[in-house]
């Protein structure tokens, strides 16, 4: 393995681009915060904090999805992803950073009693409302703050533990007994993350952070829908970094066979997302009960109609038709294009999930959205590159690495 480039050196252009994006984003963020976030007009406030909320929640969940990918692969004793596991690890180092931003934004919204964002923060309205009173055991500031803090802390901590055990595979070759012990320890650590992930991303966190914006409305599909959306975008992000590093001459051990399987995840979970999208929509459409259809009223018939169906077009029809062929999933250019499209599509999905409920009358998509997006993309690029450069690109004594090198689809 002497010829393998183990050490990633951050190219100058990457730094320039990420600093430029962060710069643009910071200007948009500050300008938006001054003119909208702290303005006296509640409408402007909702616009700014809502936009910041969906961006930071989206990127937190997407980066966390990379750690989820690592953990379920470890739990299933999957070998094929070992040749590029450091990419997923590097992406997951952003969970504490983006999670921290999410925590600050949500704390500001909840402690600042921004009841135009979370209607259940309005104490008088809750007291006069039997539905909200019934939900008060779950939708109250104390529980929200404790559960959010605990969630982000434990995602970060269990993720950190997983990255630490990965570093042990850099030190020395393992014999069979040591390798077995290493695998068991990895699986136990991934188990902690997976259980906590199930309790949060797959259930409570989307209810608290996103669904409670429509405080009266509920959908049992909502959490899985959010999870599918963030996971497919997370796989697309892993694919993008893999392709970028291959282009720069790194990741010699990862081939189009590995890309093929990442592409399969992007394809399959796009279909899974559509399944949840449709199940949520059809049941509400069929039953036609006013308190349920209220969520779709302004999305399907109002101002959000173009965005709502653009969402379905980008996130379902494009992956279905473009990524279906085997040769498409093995084509680096095409997968890179689809990965960008899928990340953008699910960002739009989060946009309509949040802003579609906060600003029902008109679509606010504009400089603020793309400015804040630029900030998060810039931070993501810079921090992932730094994390990749901080340790070897290959966990070279990992017991499963050889199987990953031989991976053939």
């Amino acid at each position: 393995m002497a010829s393998i480039k183990e050490q990633f050196e951050i190219p100058g252009t990457l730094k320039t681009w990420s600093y430029a994006l962060i710069g643009i984003g910071a200007v948009a963020l500050l300008y938006g915060m001054v003119t909208k976030g702290f303005s006296t007009d509640e409408h402007e406030q909702v616009h700014f904090w809502g936009t910041l909320m969906y961006n930071t929640i989206f990127w937190t969940l997407v980066t966390n999805a990379a750690m989820f990918f690592l953990c379920f692969s470890t739990m299933a004793m999957a070998a094929w992803m070992q040749s590029f596991r450091r990419i997923a690890e590097a992406i997951s180092t952003l969970v504490p950073i983006f999670g921290g931003i999410t925590l600050l934004v949500l704390l500001y919204v909840v402690i600042g009693e921004k009841h135009h964002i979370y209607h259940w923060l309005d104490k008088e309205a809750v007291a006069a409302d039997p539905i909200l009173k019934g939900k008060a055991g779950f939708l109250n500031p104390t529980f929200f703050i404790i559960w959010t803090t605990l969630t982000i802390t434990l995602w970060s901590y269990f993720g950190y533990r997983m990255r630490q055990i990965s570093l042990e595979a850099d030190v020395a070759p393992m014999d069979a007994a040591a390798a077995h012990k290493y695998n068991v320890r990895s699986m136990v650590r991934s188990g902690f993350f997976l259980v906590w992930f199930g309790l949060t991303v797959a259930s409570t966190i989307p209810w608290l952070w996103l669904m409670s914006i429509d405080a009266h409305w509920y959908s049992t599909m909502y959490s899985w829908y959010t999870f599918a959306s963030s996971f497919v975008a997370g796989m697309a992000l892993i694919a993008l970094w893999l392709i970028y590093l291959k282009n720069k001459g790194y990741m010699e051990l990862s081939t189009s066979d590995h890309l093929h399987d990442v592409g399969k995840f992007m394809f399959a979970f796009s279909i899974f997302w559509t399944y949840l999208w449709f199940s949520q929509y059809m049941l509400i459409w069929y039953a036609n009960i006013p308190e349920e259809t209220v969520y779709f009223k302004h999305r399907v018939q109002g101002a959000y109609k173009p965005i709502f169906f653009l969402n379905l077009f980008i996130n379902f029809l494009c992956p279905l038709l473009i990524l279906m062929k085997r040769s498409a999933k093995r084509n680096f250019t095409l997968v890179a294009f689809m990965a960008v499209l899928i990340i953008f599509g699910h960002w739009i999905d989060f946009y309509q999930m949040v802003m579609g409920s906060l600003m029902k009358e008109h679509v606010s998509l504009g400089w603020l959205d793309f400015g804040i997006l630029a900030f998060f993309v810039g931070v993501m690029i810079l921090m992932v590159a730094r994390s990749l450069a901080s340790k070897p690109l290959i966990a070279k004594y990992h017991p499963f690495l050889k199987e990953s090198i031989l991976h053939q689809v």
Binding site: Y281, M282, W285, Q408
Partner: protein, 190 residues
Amino acid sequence: MAQKKFVVGCFDDENVLFPAVKQVRSAGYKIKDVYTPFPVHGLDHALGMRETSLHTAGFIYGITGTTTAVSAISWIFTKDWPLNIGGKPHFALPAWVPIIFELTVLFAAVGMVLTFCYLCQLAPGVKKHHFHKRATDDLFVMVIECSDKTNTSDLQALLKSNGAIETNVQEAEEGWWFGTYDNDELPATA
């Protein structure tokens, strides 16, 4: 039923089989197939077989199913027998999606299974020649098609030198037939 001549070489090790396949192919012989007791990774590639087009067939069956479902349901519910179901419009696309999906899957699945059977020449009552019975147990059986000019003893020597533990020449029916194995002359091997 045209009988054809084949040279058969049996190998007991995957690691010997792969170089042998390479040698036989580069010597210019045409390998009909290699019968193995289990799927061997990369063997199809080593044999130079082309990618299967079963997926393309599957896609075509799938969209046939989609078209069938959409046209049938829309004709039934809007033209042939319109019913008022819960006040929904007659052209109620969301309600049809599950059925459209099911028919797509059904057409694709059944179509692909039948195509697969056709391509592999599998059907009830169909018989094919067995080149070596241990191909289902522990031997990798390489079958090479002979032309008029093939020197079978040279070929057998080549196979032996590449690690074949057993070689023979068989006159066999190339394709499939209906009936019994009586009209197939099995080679006199153990």
